[in-house]
Each structure stands twice: as C-alpha cells, then as structure tokens.
C-alpha cells in the first residue's frame, strides 16, 4: 500500500485497489468456508472503532473483521463518547492514543474528521464514512462484489442512481471505479445532482430510463428520508415512479447486469421489494464482501504483508 491511512478513494492507485481486492479474496475462505473463522494475523494489535454517528452494518462489519483477524478492539461512540460531552475531537483522539492503540476506525457526521484524527495520532486511521465526503471501505466492498461477478472492472458501465449530492458512497465509489477503468454515469433528480460532475469526470443525467439498457451495474443509493424535509423531492411516490428500480426497469437490463445497494434500503422508494430480492440483486453479497475487504484493509495498513504471518 502506498497510503498510510485509508481516508478517501481518490488517493488510491489502481495497484492499491487491486492489492486490497486480491487480499480480500485470500481471506474469503477464512470468513466463508472455515468452521473456525479466525486467523492470528493481527494478534496483539489494538483497534478503536470510533463511531460518532449511528451505524449498524458498517460497525458490525468492522467488529467482525477485527475478530476474524484476532485484533483486540474497542468500540465507542454515540452516547458513550466524550465527544458528546463537549470534549473536542482532538482531545478525545489524543486521550485514546495515549493508551497506545494501533488503529482508529472512524465514522463521523462531519467531513474531514478522519483527516483531523490523523493530525492528532500516530495510529493508522480508516475512514468508515465522513459526512457527505467519503466512504472508502464501502467503495472497496462494492468493487469486490462487481469484480467477483464480472471477473474484471475495466470497461464496466455503472450507473449510480439517487441522492448523489449528499452521498459519501457516490463520492468514494465514482472515483474508485474511474481509477479501475470503469465508466460511471450519475443519475438523479436535479435537486440531488452533484455540484460539479466534471470533478468526477462522469456524465450526469436526470433521465434514468435512457440509460438502463446500457448498464452492467445499476447501483441504487439510499434516499435519506430526512433530506425530503427540504423539499428536494415532492414525495416518496413520485420518487419511486421516476427513479425507483422496479421490475419493469429491471426487465430492460442487460442479461448479465446486476443490482447493488449500500443499504439500508427504503423498500418501495428507491428499490422495490421484489427487485431487492431478485436473482440480479447482489446486495447481500456486498455485505459479505464488506467483512473480507475490511479484513484486507486493516491487515495491509497494519503492515500484515510484511510481518511474516500469512492469511
């Protein structure tokens, strides 16, 4: 790995990403086939899961990945953290660092929080989602899922559909796909479109129905229901009609094309229930890949490749 921390995807090279995906693949048997789902790769290393906003799947995924690698881990956040008592982030990080830990995994409501953590600790930092900015470990599990299905990423056509502007998933997935040679199209109502699609180097359209037939992957983003308060869209019903993935749209997809969603889903809004559960859906495969890729990221960033312990 060329990076010390995993903060964003636009700093990753194609080699970095390939190394993460290959390492994750090597961990597949540990997590998916063995009865004893544990290797000693990170035995004696200490990882702090600092979750400053609610998370179910990402937090569980990290915790399981840490257990699989035999790391000692500590999860904190929400009402148990000092951050909510008015302590500054810098003080919290310096305090925990003084206990001598090896890694922080951080989920935060505010963009740039993981970067600030790096400025206050010598430990390695993994961004588990910061505000509307980046969610790089989500992007890696998504790439893993796509590569698993197609055997490659180069040349894949991927539509990312939904609340683009407020999505750290889009913010990290689109650059990572571009780095790996995929073609990305952003789809969403104008009130949800990103301010500057040129920065991603992706076309952006409001017309979902115009792109469906061309795509290898249709990636539906969760609509944050709280965003509706600002009247960016008129109703769930209308959103579902214009941008929801229903069977009529699914039936127009290429034979081999797949459906993805980072979860949690609003069934009946951005994705219909029957679509979420259909044979094209890779949504649960994504969840499984999350454990594998997070094992790979922690293993590589803590120097696992050099410490003589094989997976």
């Amino acid at each position: 790995m060329f990076v010390k921390n995993l903060i964003d995807t636009y700093s990753l090279t194609a080699d970095d990403i390939t190394q993460i995906l290959d390492t994750a693949q090597a961990f597949e048997s540990v997590n998916n086939s063995r009865t004893i789902k544990k290797v000693p790769a990170l035995r004696g290393r200490t990882i702090v899961n600092l979750f400053l906003e609610p998370s179910t799947r990402t937090k569980s995924s990290f915790e399981l990945a840490e257990k699989r690698l035999s790391a000692d881990s500590l999860s904190m956040g929400g009402s148990t953290s000092s951050v909510v008592k008015g302590e500054s982030l810098a003080d919290t990080i310096q305090t925990i660092s003084a206990m001598n830990v090896d890694m922080f995994v951080c989920r935060a409501r505010l963009a740039g929080t993981p970067q600030r953590i790096t400025e206050n600790t010598d430990a390695v930092v993994i961004n588990a989602g910061d505000g509307k900015h980046q969610h790089p470990t989500q992007a890696m599990l998504d790439l893993y899922t796509m590569r698993k299905h197609f055997g490659h990423l180069d040349g894949l056509k991927v539509a990312i559909v939904g609340d683009l502007a407020h999505s750290r998933v889009c913010g990290s997935l689109a650059p990572a796909l571009k780095t790996m040679g995929a073609e990305v199209t952003l789809v969403g109502p104008p009130t949800f479109q990103v301010d500057d699609p040129d920065w991603f180097g992706c076309p952006q359209t409001a017309h979902f129905d115009d792109v469906i037939e061309d795509m290898d992957v249709i990636y539906m983003l969760r609509v944050q229901l709280e965003r509706m308060e600002g009247a960016a869209i008129p109703s769930r019903r209308e959103y579902n009609r214009l941008y929801g993935l229903d069977m009529t749209r699914v039936n127009r997809m290429k034979d081999d094309a797949i459906i993805m969603h980072p979860g949690p889903m609003n069934r009946g809004m951005e994705i219909n229930a029957d679509v979420a559960d259909c044979s094209r859906s890779r949504i649960l495969n994504q969840v499984n890949a999350g454990v594998l890729t997070r094992m790979a990221e922690m293993y590589l960033l803590l120097g696992g490749e050099n410490n003589g312990i094989s997976a």
């Binding site: 505010l110 963009a111 509307k132 500057d196």
Partner: protein
C-alpha cells in the same frame, strides 16, 4: 511632540505628490511638507530614506468583538493589530453582544478606542435592531454619537421591503449603507463555494448567486432611494460586473474586497480542511479571484478591507463544518498588497494609497487626510524591503487564525503616526 520625517518617497494622489520630500509633524497636525526642512529644536528627526510615506491606512471592515466576545479580541488588542499592520483608522462592525444598534454603544467603542490610544475607531452601527432585519435601529442617534456608516454585516437584510426602508431612512444622513449580500435561502448550510470545492470535499455549497442576486437587488434599491450603497467583501466576477454597471450608470455604488479573496481561491482548500480558509463569503474560483485582482487594479473596486475576524483557537481547531467563519487580516493586508501587486508592478503606489487610505475615508465620510500642511497627522511609513514571515508569534492581535500563516512577504509598515502620536516604531507597536 514634533517629528521630522526626512527623505521618504511621499505618495498622495490627492495633492499630486509622488516623490521624495520631508514632512514635519507638529502636535496632531502636519506642519510643513517640502524639501530640506530644518527640524525645530524639540523635533525628533527620523531618517525615512528608502521608505514610502502615505496618508494613514484605513481598514473599513473589521470585527473587534468588543463588547461581548472579548475572549476573541478586544478594542485594545485589535488596536495593536491595526497599528502593527500600518493602520490609523478601522471601522468596527456592529455584530457585538449586545449588537451595536444605539448611540450609547457607538460612544462606548469610540471612548474605548481613545483609551487604547493606537488607532481611530470608526464604529459602524447596525441598520436594524439586533441585526435581525425586522425594525430600524436608532440610526439618527448613532449618527449623532459618531457612527461612520450602517450595516447588518454578517447577514444580508433578507426582506427587500425592509432594505428599502433602511436605505430610505439612511438617505437623510450623509452616510452609506454597507451590505453583506447573502440570500439565506440560497446559502442554507453552505460552508464552501458551490461547485468543484463542495463536490471534492463533500460539503454543502454556498453558491455565487446567493451573493450576486442580493447585490443586484440592493443596487436597484440604491437607485430607487438615492441612498449611498457599498458592497461588502465582494467575491465573484459577476458581482463585480454588477457594480461596474451601476457605476457606469452614475449610481452612488462602491465596493470593497479582502486580501483573502484577492490572493486565495477554492483550490487552496485541500483535504487537510484548513479551517482558517473557511470564510463568508467563501473563497471562490480562480477565475473569480483573477477578476477581483483586475478590478482592484483598474479602479472598479474602491477599497481593500480585511474583514478581520478573530476567533479563539477552539473555534477553528475543529471539523470544517462546525468551525467559525473568517480569518484575521489587519497585519497581513498591506504586506500582501505590496508583495503580490505593488512590488511586482501590477499596481501603482498611488493606486494603493487610493484603495487603502483615500477611498475608505470617502465611503465613511471621514475628513480627508492629505500629506499637506494643516492636515491631521495620520501617516503610515512603509518599508518596501522589510521581510516578514507570518507566524502566530508575529501577529500582535489576540487571535491567530490567519489564512496566511507560514507565508513569506516583502514590505510592511515600519512606523505609524496617529494624530501625531507614534503608534508604530520600527515595526514595534508603541507603547509596547
């Protein structure tokens, strides 16, 4: 006390001066300007050769946080920063606590400034009570106590009808309305320029239109009411074009720009999220920045101001989205203008004097200060060869949130005379 400044290059376009001369200060006035002046017996003679002498610099947009937020800055500490930066006058914005919206609060600031004794405080009164944009404040009372202008700086007046009322009311006095142009419903939650920067860094954008639309509205209201109207901290090329068009039409419209909008742009905000670059209005595009530089050089922009916005360390040493807006600027303004524009020859010395001394006095309807006998002895002596590094220790104000920390600059004020009193001596604020 008398001073004879010998051999400085004097620049004052108001009296057609641009050459070496001696200047004699006696008491609070300039006694004589000429060649080979002989010092009176009690005069201190200062060798000013190689330096530039100009009318005292004026920063017509600062926040001294006094009263109410003295932990960020006070009139005492802000005055030190002002003298260190070469200024003789500063206009203080009214977003204090309580908001400066009555004559008594104007009087407090002036008195406090006299007590500090380093710089003339020219308080700006709030246009509306509490800067809430709902009811006129006691503007006449504030004029009588010495208010230099009126503004709800920090916010735009959201209601066009209320702004019309404000401008109509102010038009009876010889004062300008200074407007922070921002339509809240367009900039809601915005913390960074909308476009590449907001996309790249994943935060809510503050669109240029949120500023431009209100500039347009207020120019038209100035036309309707006849009130003098001044655009605060203009930040976009389009906004500047609107001001240019208004001037061409002969309307009483002026504007100002900050050094951070002249010399920084959104591309300077990196993924380290340096919160000293979080401003309102935000740093805009490179093209906007270049248009503003053109505007300050060609006369379209009237004044350079700093929007000096001191904050305590904990208000900046945090995540970008919750950090306070603004940066300090009094001490870097002149060095930046010299380093980036005057010394490379993009701006003449006389233009510098216009935008930093002559024009701000006009907008604030202050008595002109000229380098001629009989004028108030508000003077700034500039050493164009001074080398400075902007560090926290070098900054003399209470707050250290400069957007230019670590920069190396050439040229700075060496001495300042405020009503004949030497407030800066060889780069050191006096009394120390």
């Amino acid at each position: 006390m008398a001073f004879l400044l010998r051999g400085a290059h004097v620049v004052d376009p108001q009296v057609g001066l641009d050459g070496v001369a001696d200047v004699l200060i006696d008491g609070d006035k300039i006694a004589e300007v000429g060649q080979g002046l002989e010092p009176p017996a009690d005069a201190e003679v200062i060798d000013a050769s190689g330096k530039y002498l100009v009318p005292g610099l004026v920063d017509m947009h600062v926040h001294f946080r006094d009263p109410g937020f003295e932990y960020k800055e006070t009139i005492d500490t802000g005055s030190r920063a002002a003298a260190h930066g070469g200024f003789t006058d500063v206009a203080t914005m009214p977003n204090t606590d309580p908001v400066t919206d009555t004559g008594a609060e104007i009087r407090y600031q002036i008195d406090r400034g006299k007590h500090a004794g380093l710089v003339h405080i020219r308080p700006i009164g709030a246009l509306t009570r509490g800067e809430k944009g709902e009811a006129l404040s006691e503007i006449g009372d504030m004029v009588m106590e010495g208010a230099a202008a009126f503004s709800d700086d920090g916010h735009g007046v959201q209601s066009a009808g209320m702004m019309r009322t404000c401008m109509e009311y102010v038009s009876q006095f010889d004062r300008a309305v200074l407007a922070h142009c921002e339509i809240d419903s367009l900039t809601t939650n915005g913390v960074i320029n909308e476009g590449k920067a907001s996309t790249r860094l994943g935060m809510f954008g503050w669109p240029a239109l949120g500023e431009e639309l209100e500039i347009y509205r207020d120019i038209e209201l100035a036309k309707l009411t006849g009130c003098r109207f001044h655009v605060c901290h203009i930040s976009t090329a389009k906004g500047l074009d609107l001001v240019r068009a208004a001037k061409k039409e002969g309307l009483p419209v002026t504007c100002e720009v900050t050094p951070h909008h002249l010399f920084l742009n959104e591309d300077d905000i990196t993924p380290t999220y340096n919160t000293n670059l979080k401003m309102n209005p935000p740093l805009r595009t490179k093209a906007d920045m270049e248009a503003l530089v053109e505007g300050i050089c060609d006369g379209s922009i009237d004044c350079v101001v700093t929007d000096h916005a001191p904050h305590a360390p904990h208000e900046k040493d945090c995540e970008w989205e919750i950090a306070f807006f603004g940066c300090v600027g009094l001490e870097t303004s002149l060095p930046l203008m010299l380093t980036k524009l005057v010394l490379p020859g993009k701006m003449s010395w006389s233009r510098l004097v216009e935008v930093m001394a002559v024009n701000p006095r006009k907008v604030l309807t202050l008595e002109p200060v000229k380098v001629e006998a009989g004028s108030t002895a508000d003077l700034t002596l500039i050493d164009p060869a001074a080398e400075i590094e902007v560090t926290e220790d070098w900054l003399q104000g209470k707050a250290k949130n400069s957007a230019f920390l670590g920069w190396h600059l050439t040229g700075a004020a060496s001495d300042v005379f405020c009503a004949g009193k030497r407030t800066l001596t060889d780069g050191v604020v006096t009394p120390a």
